[in-house]
Every structure is written in structure tokens, then in C-alpha cells.
Amino acid sequence: MGSLFSVPIYFVIFRETTEAAVIVSVLLSFLSQVITSDEHMRKRLARQVWAGTALGLLISIAVGAAFIVVWNKYGNNLWAGSEGIWVGVFSLVAVVMITVMGMAMLRTTQIQEKWKVKLSKAMDDENQKGLGNASRRYAMFLLPLITVLREGLEAIVFIGGVTFTTESKSIPLAVVVGLISGFIVGYILYRGGNRMNLHRFFTASTCLLLLLAAGLVARAVASFEAYVWGKLTNAQSDDGGTYDPRYNVWALSCCDPKNNDLGGWQLFNALFGWSNIGSIGSVVCYIAYWLIVIVALVYMKLKHRSVARANALRSVHESSNTTSGEKHSLELEDEKIAPVATPTPAAEATHVQGDAIGQDHPVDLKHI
């Protein structure tokens, strides 16, 4: 199974497609809300959004495919012989990328809010600066194009990290399924799907992604160790199924993921890093990965809580001191510290969306 469908690549594509779909759905919803009277204009602008998105996707996929073709033609044979080390290094690169992306995915439900905030902010600026017409006319085309291109290139970089350790024939199917899943999720979001279920879905996806990354850590370490052992024993080929007995914790005669007849164990290896030969190094590094993830998550969560609490307290304090007419822009320090997603009675006052977007104003989207 691992040889025809690369799970990491699937998730990269899925995530990037989802975010692109979210952006498109936000824009389209925005258009529906803002341009309530002029149906013709709304349709024209909506078409722009679709066109920009489609072009962005096309270019991303073309660049990605070209990259993969070039890689397979020239890159693959560069390191036969020291294969163990290269596989290991690129696996670790993929681990970092997948972990970062997995954590970022947890913030997907905040993406919508982020975009709405950005749009309103831009409209604020537009009010202040007043720009020309030309950019505005094609703004609805340029925004999705640029956004999707950016997301697409991000995906390519992520995939680059993962592809080093992947067979080329496992890529196409994973890409296609990832695109399809991403579209589906975006469509659900557009239709205003139940936020709670989507949130659970993204949480589950992150769980799976991190499991994958942990498994990759174990595989990377095993790959390094196999390389070193091969050098110590002057191994002629990299098979042999032998291992360094001094650092071994289990060696099963069954359940070998390299045995092509038993597909199940191959799947276990792709998903969880399972091997019938377990070394101290791979076990320790696997556990260490999870410890790092746990520490990072706890730290981020506590920091996020304290910032959100401070913001909430400050706005409570301010709203009790000022008139209710003023709007407040939230300072977004960085992406990780996003405004609280679900509107609550107290937090409602901090959301800017209602005020700004309600105005019938073309937005200078260049500043978003």
C-alpha cells in the first residue's frame, strides 16, 4: 500500500487545497454578503475569483509536477551507496515539515476569521488612502491567484521534503485524492458546514499526521543505523536483514515490513514506522519526538491562553470605559495567536467584521 499511495503527500496536498478552498469560500461569501444589489457585478466578480483560483492551482500543479519529474530523472541516483544516510536525512526533514503543518492545520477554523479580519482591515486602509480603480477591478482575480500560488508553492516545498523518501509511483494517486478531499472540505465550508464536525475532522487529521511523523522518525533512525551497520560488516547489499545486536531490543522472525507478501506490515511501517527489528535508537527517538510535540503543544496552548485572556480582559476594561461606536482593530501579533474562534458574548465586541464589511465599498485588496 505504501508503494502506491504516499500518505504524507496526501496530507500535504489535502491541507493546502483545503486552505485554498477556504479562501475561495470566504471570498465568495463576502461577495454574497457585500454585493447584495448588483447581481451582474456579483457574478462577474465571482467568476474572477474562480478564474484566479483555477489559474493558481494550475500553475502550482504544473510547477510541482515538473519538480517531481526532474527530481526523479536526475536526483534519485545521486546517492546510491550512501542511501541509508540520505533516506535518513530527508526523512527527518519531512518529519519537521509534517509536524509544523500538522500543528498549523489545527488552526484551520481560524483561517476564516483571519481572512475576514484581513479583508476588513484592508477596507479600513482603503478608506484612508483611496486608490485607483484598475487594481480594484481585477482585485477579485488577483487575490485568489496570488493566494493559491503561495499556498501551492508552500505545498511544493513541503512535498519536496517528503518526496525524497518516496517512490515516484506513490505520488500521483496521493495528489489526486488529496485534491479531491480538499475540494470537498472547502465546499462544505462554503456551504457553512457544521463547524464542530469540521474541527473534529481537522483534529483527527493532525493526529494521524503526527503519528506519521513519529513513524518517520523511527524509520529515519533505523535507516541511519542500517547504514552504519552495513559499513561495519562490509555488507555487499543493503538487504541481508541483519542488525547490530548490541543495540537491539526486539527481532521478530515474523512481521517484516520489507516482505512484500505481507502487505499489512508494510502499511504498519508506512503509518507508524513499525519494523520487525527494533533498536534502542529508533525506540528512544520515537518517544522523544512525542515528548517534544507534547511540550511544544502545552507551551503554545498556555501562551495562547494567556494572550487571549489578556486581550479579553483589556477589551472588557476598554469597553466599559469608551463609547460603543468605536471599532477596535485587533493586533495580530502573529498567525499563531489568532482571535478566539467562536464568538462569545464578551468577545463579540472585539470582532470587527460586522462593522466594516457591512459597508458598500469595494475593498482595496492589494493591502491585504
Binding site: Q236, T242, A251, S253, Y286, A312, A341
Partner: protein, 588 residues
């Protein structure tokens, strides 16, 4: 019955009483420096300060006496390969099987009645000393040879290493050699040289005795411009068999008749090609094609080199012994499966039926002679000597499965055996009777047989020689890796036939080796303290494996739980705090 063995031997002696003589060799085993292939001088084990060691020549009916003085710093012993040693097992030679090794500085006299004739060799049988040079031809002449020839030459083929065997053995058996790659020799030799010459006179008939004294290599033997007829195999005269080439594995011997050419116009090459399939790798500087020269005239030119890589297929089971011996239905059948694997000491070892051979604490022969009625109980010899106990005059069959990618030559001490069957694959006794029997009234006989990779061979012999006889692969590295079993033949008869010379016991005492009792040196069946070998790896989870796996699962679950906790919205928490703050403010 007991007397009949001795009288048989005496009869054999009496038959040639007229010329029976005591032939004595005084051998000081010494270290010598030598450079036989001209590429590298090194320390070797020689005799009387010489290398190669002297050739032993005796005649049927003689008594061969070798007075050995061990003047190297290691214990040693000598095995006369192929000699039956009927009623004489204590002089067979393998260390810890039939004797304690000879301590450094000590004397040991081998007294061997010669009851057969043909081409044999003598070599060290403690550790791999014969690889370091302690090996040489042992030619037994018959007063009336079966075939007529004018002269004879000996071609002692051997592989040659530049490193001492103990060093190579340590590397071979280390945990860093899990694939069990044998050391590859640096060259091949004929009569311990690379430039041998043999003079041929036109019109004469020559008997060439070919011996392979290698640790590992197998040779293909052929002569440019001359026909060969095989007339002897491992000491058994056979009906003439014309061949263009034949293979000789380690420890095998052949005699061929070659008629010299009619004129002396050319000289010809003799070829002994080492088979690359025996070597893990073939380094480019290794000369596989070893050559000697047949010289008709010093000034004659050399005939074109007929070296080839294609050899005529050769099946030694088709050779027909001149003295017929019919086979009989076996009383006992021992199926043995030879294999190599990494055992639980993490080194690559050889096993017969998953048991690797480990030397017992007491020489097995002494155990058989000092345990009374228990000597017929295999337990008394220890599991890792892999004892096969047979009764006197039983017919014994051994079916050897070679479950390994390599080819192995197997040798039985104290006997020649009939080759009664050959087949491919692995024979499982549970599947029914052996399918590969050759139906022959006079099967081919020899003492060292090649079992090719993934094939099997059935051999048979009559247990008419009370004693303890080692059965093992004659690739020296594999013997050290444990590819051996011990045949305990007629232990019930041994005490009346065999007497151990007190000097042998003195040598055991000098080395601190027990010489009475079972494999552990104890009385009865108490085997506490016996030498225990490594066993196959369990291939399942051990305690530390389970602990490690459990911890990985726990860490993954904790991680996933943290992810879920992280992703939960904090609104309730924060709104509570905000509400609290509001309340606090409103109070002011």
C-alpha cells in the same frame, strides 16, 4: 565377535606379511617462515623446520609410526585423513573427539596399522592449524596395484592465505560477520608452489594422484593435450572412467591414469582452476586459474593454453568400485539438515538440525569408555556434540540436506561410505521415504562427498569399527562454526577393543582437561557445567522488547491526547475569566 575385528586387521596384515614393515617418521611440529606463492612471506606450521612438510609413503600391511614432538606454542594433533583406524580410534586425531590435543612441548606417538591403499593426506586437527600449513600427502602403495603404470606424481592442490588462521577465524566468527562470509584466499598452489613442473617421457603411462588440501577452495582439474581416466577415488579403486575434467572439493582425492604423448615436441599446461562460487567475493588480484607444467623437453615450446570456464559435468556417484560391495537396508537413518544462521550469541554459526557443534569438556571417546552402560545413551555425550549412537555392525544411513546457498563437502572419519541417493530440495522424513535412491548393486564409495546447495545426498555404511568418529563439513571455517556431529559407533563393544595409552591421559592432565565421565566431566547423567553452545534466536518478543513497545505506544497515546486537548476551544475558560473580570470591574 569382538575378536573378529582384531583378527580381521591381523589378517590384513598377515596377507602382506612378507613386506610388512614399521615405517617411522619423526616429526617435530615447528613454526617456519615461508613464501609459497612468492607474494608474501609469513609464519607457517612446518615439520622439522621445513615447509612443505614431508610426504608420507607406506605400503599396505605396514605399520605407520609418527613420533610427534609439539614444538609450537599451541596444542596440536594430527589426523590421517581417510584411514579407517579399525580398532585404533584413539589415534584418529580430532582434538576433543578422540584425544586431548598434544600440549606444547609434549610427545605423542601415532601408531597406525595400514589396512588399505590409495591416496590420502595427513593434517592438523586442532583448530584450523592445517590451514597454516600442517598438511601433506599420505600415499599408501599396494604391492600389487590394480592398474599398471610406469610412474606416479602427486598433485597436492591447496588454497593459500597470507594471514594466520586464528586471526581470520576471529573475524569470521565475530558479530560483525552476520552473513558468514568466509575468508577468501590470496592464491592457489600445487604442491605448495605456483610453478610446479612434472617430467613426462613419451609413451609412458603415469598415475597422477590429486589431493585437495584446501580450507575452502574447490578445484577443477584438467590437462591440455592429454586424456585422463579416473582409477581411484578417496582410496577406492574404481573402473576406468575417461573424463576431460573433474572437480575436487576440499579433502577429496582422485588418481588418474594419463598416457604421455608419442613425441617430445611440446610441453603442456596442467590446470587446477579454483571455482569462484566458493568465494564470497573474488578480488581482482586473485588468480583463480592455477597452473603447472608437463615437461617433455626443457627446450620445447608450450602448447596453446587450453584454459576454459566450461567444465564437463561430473557425477562421482557414477564411479564403479573395482571391489564390489552391495548395499543393505539401513537399520538406522539419520536425516541431517545443514544450515547457517545468526544464533543467540549473535555470530553466524553452522547447525545440523538447529544444533551447532561445541567441543565437550571430556574427549567424546573417553566419555564412551568411562561411562559404563550409559555409553549407549546419547545424553551422556552432551547435546552440542550432536551424538549419533549406533550399534555394532548395524547398517547406518545419513541423509544430508544442504539448506544453504553454498556447496559443502562432508567427511566421515573411520569409514568410506556408499553414495546411495541424490536429490534436489530438502528431504523431510515426515513426507515419506527418501525419493532419491540410486538403485545400484555396487554403489560408488568414498569418504568425502559434495552436497551442492539446496540439494541432498544419502550415504550408507556398516558400523563395523567401534569408536567415535567425527562427521563434518571439510571447509575448515565451517567446522569451526559448528557444522559437525559425532558418530558414537558400537559403544557397547569399545572397551574390549580400545585401550587408551596412559601418555594420552597425561596430556589431558597437563592441559587441565578432564578425561573421565560425561560431557561435563561428571558421573552419570548430571550434565551441570557442560559446554553449552548458542541456540537459535527466539524470533519473538523478549521482555525488553515488550517494555520498549509498550513505552512507544504510551508515548504515542499521550501525544495524541495532548493534540486533542490543544485543539479544544478555550472559550468557556476564557469567557469565565472575562466574566469574572467584568464582575470585578462592575464592583468598582
Amino acid at each position: 565377535m569382538l575378536a573378529s575385528i582384531k583378527s580381521l586387521a591381523l589378517l590384513a596384515l598377515a596377507a602382506t606379511a612378507a613386506q610388512a614393515a614399521v615405517v617411522t617418521y619423526d616429526w617435530n611440529i615447528t613454526y617456519v617462515n615461508a613464501n609459497p606463492d612468492g607474494l608474501h612471506e609469513r609464519r607457517v606450521i612446518g615439520v622439522n623446520g621445513q615447509f612443505p612438510i614431508p610426504t608420507i609413503n607406506v605400503t599396505l600391511g605396514d605399520t605407520l609410526v609418527i613420533n610427534v614432538i609439539n614444538q609450537i606454542d599451541q596444542p596440536t594433533s594430527l589426523h590421517s585423513h581417510g584411514l579407517f583406524q579399525t580398532g585404533n580410534a584413539q589415534f584418529d586425531g580430532p582434538s576433543m573427539v578422540t584425544q586431548c590435543p598434544i600440549p606444547p612441548g609434549a610427545n605423542f606417538t601415532y601408531t597406525i596399522p595400514i589396512e588399505q591403499h590409495g591416496t590420502y593426506w595427513i593434517h592438523g586437527h586442532n583448530r584450523g592449524q592445517y590451514v597454516d600449513g600442517l598438511r601433506g600427502p599420505l600415499i599408501i602403495h599396494n604391492t600389487n596395484e590394480t592398474y599398471k603404470y610406469d610412474e606416479e606424481y602427486t598433485f597436492a592442490l591447496a588454497d593459500w592465505y597470507h594471514t594466520e588462521h586464528e586471526i581470520m577465524l576471529e573475524q569470521y566468527l565475530s558479530i560483525f560477520n552476520p552473513s558468514g562470509a568466509e575468508p577468501v584466499p590470496e592464491s592457489g598452489l600445487i604442491n605448495q608452489r605456483t610453478d610446479t613442473k612434472f617430467n613426462f617421457v613419451p609413451g609412458k603411462t603415469y598415475r597422477l594422484r590429486i589431493i585437495n588440501m584446501s580450507a575452502l577452495a574447490m578445484f577443477h582439474f584438467y590437462i591440455d593435450g592429454h586424456d585422463m581416466e579416473i582409477i581411484e577415488v578417496d582410496g577406492i579403486d574404481v573402473e576406468r572412467k575417461p573424463v576431460t575434467s573433474f572437480y575436487v572439493t576440499a579433502a577429496q582425492r582422485y588418481s588418474v591414469l594419463v598416457k604421455a604423448r608419442a613425441d617430445a615436441s611440446q610441453n603442456f599446461l596442467v590446470h587446477a582452476d579454483m571455482d569462484p562460487a566458493m568465494f564470497d567475493v573474488v578480488p581482482p588480484e586473485l588468480q583463480l586459474k592455477v597452473q603447472g607444467t608437463i615437461v617433455y623437453s626443457e627446450s620445447a615450446p608450450l602448447a596453446p593454453n587450453g584454459v576454459t570456464d566450461e567444465y564437463e559435468p561430473f557425477n562421482d556417484a557414477l564411479l564403479v568400485p573395482v571391489v564390489p560391495e552391495a548395499t543393505q537396508k539401513p537399520d538406522q537413518i539419520f536425516p541431517l539438515t545443514a544450515a547457517f544462521s545468526v544464533l543467540n550469541d549473535y555470530s553466524n554459526k553452522a547447525t545440523f538440525n538447529d544444533i551447532t557443534y561445541v567441543m565437550p569438556k571430556v574427549p567424546t571417546l573417553y566419555t564412551a569408555l568411562t561411562t559404563g552402560n550409559l555409553s549407549s545413551n546419547p545424553e551422556v555425550y552432551g547435546k552440542y556434540a550432536h551424538p549419533m549412537v549406533v550399534k555394532h555392525n548395524e547398517w547406518v544411513e545419513i541423509i544430508i540436506n544442504n539448506d544453504d546457498p553454498g556447496n559443502h563437502p562432508f567427511h566421515l572419519h573411520g569409514h568410506v561410505f556408499q553414495i546411495v541417493g541424490r536429490s534436489t530440495g530438502k528431504y523431510d522424513p515426515a513426507s515419506g521415504p527418501y525419493p532419491g535412491y540410486i538403485d545400484s548393486p555396487n554403489p560408488s564409495r568414498r569418504d568425502t562427498v559434495l552436497v551442492p546447495s539446496e540439494e541432498n545426498v544419502a550415504i550408507r555404511f556398516k558400523a563395523n569399527n567401534p569408536g567415535v568418529w567425527l562427521f563434518h563439513c571439510h571447509i575448515e571455517w565451517h567446522l569451526q562454526a559448528g557444522l559437525a556431529t559425532t558418530l558414537i559407533e558400537a559403544p557397547e563393544v569399545m572397551p574390549s577393543v580400545l585401550k587408551i595409552d596412559p601418555t594420552h591421559i597425561e596430556h589431558c592432565k597437563a592441559l587441565g582437561i578432564p578425561y573421565r565421565g560425561n560431557a561435563a566431566g561428571n558421573e552419570g547423567l548430571n550434565l551441570d557445567g557442560a559446554n553449552i553452545g548458542p541456540d537459535p534466536l527466539p524470533g519473538t518478543f523478549t521482555a525488553k522488547g515488550i517494555v520498549a513497545l509498550v513505552f512507544t505506544i504510551i508515548s504515542a497515546l499521550l501525544g495524541l491526547a495532548t493534540v486533542i486537548w490543544y485543539a479544544r476551544e478555550d472559550d468557556a475558560h476564557i469567557s469565565a475569566q472575562v466574566a469574572q473580570a467584568k464582575n470585578t470591574e462592575e464592583e468598582h
